[in-house]
């Protein structure tokens, strides 16, 4: 059993930022990251981010990752990092099982921050398991990290910001985007992103979904179908498109399995993406000294994951007796930034979700 003060599970923006403030407060930290690289979702984002200046808006995602990773690497004597290491078990007494290079090890920490992010939702249709059908994150990983194209052409399902942005990234990489389909009657993401695609000639088909995939050993064609106002398929509206790739981008849900394993009290909140941990105002779960930040507490954005990370790092350190020299100013500042990021029409869903999580009704 290896003993630690603070273990952070997940080296995405939320986990990295928690490590930064906790280490500034004087604490020693271990970050455990499943993939070979730190940075989470950010390392595959080639577009300039939306959000606020303080959280690096207008900077490209992978450049934001470089800044956040740099902050953590500056303190090697305090922040230890395990890469290629997956936390496969988390128990209520703060014990963890970690799998790395074929070996399982046991860890125990005085406090734990879970910052595991999210996983992609899937869509049900005939033959949806054929090779050539990928999640949007997978397409980005393949293309932006490894420089490999997912296919010669692609049909994108889902018009949220991720669907729109990944379609644009696919075109930049040289893939023909044959269509972007959306089941709802209107586009989900920002109109600026959608207009860019329209200008480049991508047909955006709303009230449309995938009926089935066609192919033998891999995808060859997709059959699309139009939906009426009751979301029922309209007979005779089917249309077949030749394509060797189909990308599913129908939302994310928090990666909550580890929390459920630790018997953390969970709640289903649709607005936050699915099962989420019930938390106190200090981002602590029902298990003492087990904190959460980022997409695992509700699907939002990198900007809020960054600020939540900073905040949780401060709080977890304080719990263990390490008080950041600017604790009060910073804490107030992070709370204000979160309120600001969640204001306005695009933050409405999060505001309703967080109210539900607290067991309150959202007053508009």
């Amino acid at each position: 059993m290896i003993l630690k003060d603070l273990i952070i599970i997940g080296g995405g923006p939320a986990g990295l930022c928690a490590a930064k403030t906790a280490s500034e407060a004087g604490l020693n930290i271990l970050i455990i990251e499943r993939s070979p690289k730190l940075g989470g979702q950010l390392i595959k984002q080639t577009h300039k981010f939306f959000g606020s200046e303080k959280t690096y808006a207008k900077t490209r995602g992978f450049d934001i990752a470089k800044i956040l990773i740099g902050d953590v690497l500056k303190r090697p004597e305090q922040i230890e990092i395990l890469l290629d290491a997956t936390v496969v078990g988390l128990y209520p007494d703060h014990e963890l099982t970690v799998y790395q290079y074929g070996i399982y090890s046991k860890y125990k920490a005085k406090a734990i921050v879970v910052a595991t992010g999210a996983s992609e939702k899937f869509l049900a249709f005939e033959n949806n398991d054929l090779p050539g059908i990928y999640g949007a994150g997978a397409v980005q990983t393949l293309m932006n990290l490894y420089g490999v194209l997912p296919g010669n052409s692609i049909v994108m399902v889902g018009s949220g910001n991720i669907g729109l942005i990944v379609s644009y990234q696919l075109m930049q990489a040289g893939v023909k985007v044959k269509a972007l389909v959306e089941a709802a009657p209107k586009i989900g993401g920002y109109l600026v992103h959608a207009s860019k695609l329209r200008r480049l000639g991508v047909p955006i088909m709303t009230s449309t979904t995938v009926k089935r995939a066609i192919g033998k050993d891999a995808l060859e064609q997709v059959e699309l179908v139009s939906l009426n106002e009751k979301w029922e398929m309209i007979q005779g509206s089917e249309k077949i498109i030749d394509t060797d790739a189909l990308c599913i981008s129908v939302g994310l849900s928090p990666l909550h399995q580890l929390l459920s394993m630790a018997h953390v009290e969970m709640k289903f909140v649709n607005e936050l993406g699915g099962m989420v941990p019930v938390i106190s105002s200090e981002h602590e779960t029902s298990v003492k000294n087990l904190f959460v930040c980022g997409d695992v507490v509700g699907i939002e954005e990198a900007s809020s994951a960054i600020v939540e990370g900073y905040l949780v790092g401060l709080i977890a350190a304080k719990r263990l007796g390490y008080i950041h020299p600017n604790y009060e100013t910073l804490e107030a500042n992070y709370h204000a930034q979160l309120t600001n990021l969640r204001s306005g029409p695009f933050g409405l869903k999060t505001r309703i979700g967080l109210a539900k999580l607290r067991g309150e009704d959202y007053a508009r």
Partner: protein, 100 residues
Amino acid sequence: MRIEKHPILTFEPKEELHFIFDGTPLTGYKGDTIQSALHACGIKKLSESIEHHRPRGFYCAIGNCASCDMTVNGKPNVRTCITMLEEGMVIISQKGKGVL
């Protein structure tokens, strides 16, 4: 199918790695995962589903879904999307559950 020109990203030429997939010698690059190297060679079917023997490709590419499990150097159920390619690897498309 590798990206040749990109307006934002640059992919530097890298050291070649040689491996064997189902008996066929193939080439990938240093920094590839097993899965990205196979995909670049046009190989999409990585295994067969256990009961109905349907073709399986990768889906999440971050180690979440187990859709890319293959037998690597004799070891079954290796998540090929998060396992880096190494020189001389012997990779077999997996059929069935695999035995350790």
